[in-house]
């Protein structure tokens, strides 16, 4: 799961695509190519981790109109109870 302050998947994946593209263009010194390769590999590992380990977060906004105080709205799910509650999905 991407925490605050950490680079987003979008940023990491975007950089990974850039790195691959740069390597494909060629014309690099060997040192530079190896440095890019290592950066790309690190990015790929991080991207894969993010994709494999992420857990969906669920937030519920406060019912400002007071529409769900009455009857007949169906059984509220316990996990959704309260305001701004988080729920993890498997």
């Amino acid at each position: 799961m991407a925490s605050e302050g950490e680079a987003s998947f979008e940023a990491l994946y975007g950089r990974l695509e850039q790195v691959v593209q740069r390597l494909e263009q060629g014309g690099l010194g060997l040192e530079e190519a190896i440095a890019l390769y290592e950066e790309g590999m690190r990015l790929a590992v991080r991207c894969r981790q993010m994709l494999e380990q992420a857990q969906l977060r669920i937030t519920r906004l406060r019912d400002e109109l007071g529409l769900y105080t009455g009857e007949g709205m169906g059984e509220p799910r316990p996990a959704y109870d309260g305001t701004e509650a988080d729920m993890e999905m498997g």
């Binding site: 390597l23 060997l30 994709l51």
Partner: protein, 395 residues
């Protein structure tokens, strides 16, 4: 108290009374079309009637309308009732008309659709692309029932890197329109990357909030793209038409709103393969360059064996020349030897000549070199003997 009204006052009273009655201001009227004629500036005049009554109708130019109206046709018209003081006429001001027989809901739908379409709310050019990797996904739907659960299931499977923000709202009944409007506005305020507006399948009446103008305008006003997933596949609501992307069901809306992690994993794997291949190619290119350079270098070095052969040939030529030279010198030497032998004074002595030398001094070649009593050595062919100069022989 009895009071006399002027005609104008009566007209104003009638107008006020009519306009104060909400039903007369938003009315669907079914009847037979007659006296149809086109007027000035594209206005359309006609009468709607049944067996017992009739009402004069006017439809102003530039209003949306259904083409192909004919006298005698049963039509369904929407409009408001008003009084035209100048002529003393009560008129039905029509803003939408279509052949009868389609049902009132459908007519309402067609009317709003025509209106919003004319305003450009469905314009393809204003459809916004969805963000490729949304971090916060707003969902405007009911927390009860399966719809929200299904949406979370889909997003949890495909794109669990996101946060789902639910704005709970009824999706049918009297509170649905205000709830949906609030939910869309609120999600814009809290900041999400994309909004899913959803509800499960239902009757036309149950889906009706999604055909309301207010909801359509809330979707249109959203600053972030909206994906609609209302009802089942064949249901198309006004909300669907305004949304940036229309999905046939709530789950499908969740699908299109987020990327698929399995697909992304494949792409990351593809990137890894590409990195490997590129680095290998990078090194391989250098290996090739090195091999080429080595080859060139070897070719540019002098050829030792041919040099050796040349050196050998030169050596042999030198030797041959030296031998030739030596032979030549030998011959000359022999010639010189012969000539030298002919000059040998001893040969002259052999013919009887002698050489006179003062003892321990030079060869005597003149009488002036000697005096009486000088001792001499006389050299002849086979040796020498001493002698003395003597005056007594007249010297």
């Amino acid at each position: 108290m009895i009071q006399a009204y002027s005609v104008s006052e009566l007209a104003r009273l009638i107008c006020r009374t009519l306009r104060g009655e909400p039903l007369l201001q938003d009315l669907w009227l079914e009847g037979e079309l007659s006296n149809l004629r086109a007027g000035y500036a594209g206005h359309l005049y006609f009468t709607l009637k049944d067996e017992d009554a009739q009402v004069r109708c006017v439809m102003f130019g530039g209003q949306w309308r259904t083409a192909g109206l004919e006298n005698g046709q049963q039509v369904l018209a929407h409009g408001r009732v008003d009084f035209w003081e100048v002529r003393g006429d009560l008129q039905f001001y029509v803003d939408f008309v279509q052949p009868a027989g389609v049902g009132l809901w459908q007519a309402q739908f067609e009317m709003l659709k025509a209106k919003l379409e004319a305003e450009g709310l469905f314009d393809p050019s204003r459809k916004r692309p969805l963000p490729p990797f949304p971090r916060r996904i707003g969902v405007a739907t009911s927390p009860a029932g399966h719809v929200f659960h299904d949406i979370c299931q889909v997003i949890g499977r495909r794109w669990p890197l996101a946060e789902v923000v639910l704005a709970p709202t009824p999706v049918q009944g009297p509170d649905a329109v205000s709830g949906l409007t609030w939910a869309i506005r609120r999600l814009n305020e809290v900041g999400v990357d994309v909004i899913i507006v959803a509800r499960g399948g239902g009757s036309l009446e149950e889906l009706w909030p999604f055909n309301e103008e207010q909801v359509a305008r809330a979707i249109f006003a959203s600053r972030v793209p909206v994906v609609s997933g209302v009802g089942h596949e064949p249901d198309v609501t006004i909300a669907d038409l305004v949304a940036d992307v229309r999905a046939p069901t709530p789950s499908a809306a969740a699908e299109v709103a987020v990327p698929d992690r399995a697909h992304l994993l494949q792409r990351v794997q593809g990137a890894v393969s590409a990195l490997d291949a590129e680095l290998e190619e990078c090194i391989e290119a250098r290996r090739r360059a090195l091999a080429q350079a080595t080859f060139s270098l070897e070719r540019s070095l002098p050829d030792i064996s041919s040099l050796a052969a040349r050196a050998l040939a030169l050596g042999q030529r030198c030797l041959a020349l030296a031998q030739q030279q030596a032979r030549h010198l030998e011959e000359r030497l022999r010639g010189l030897g012969l000539r030298l032998a002919s000059l040998d004074p001893r040969a002259t002595l052999a013919r009887g000549y002698a050489i006179v030398r003062k003892r321990g001094g030079p060869v005597v070649a003149s009488t002036t070199q000697v005096r009486d009593g000088d001792l001499l050595d006389i050299y002849v062919a086979d040796g020498h003997f001493p002698a003395e100069v003597s005056r007594q022989y007249g010297f």
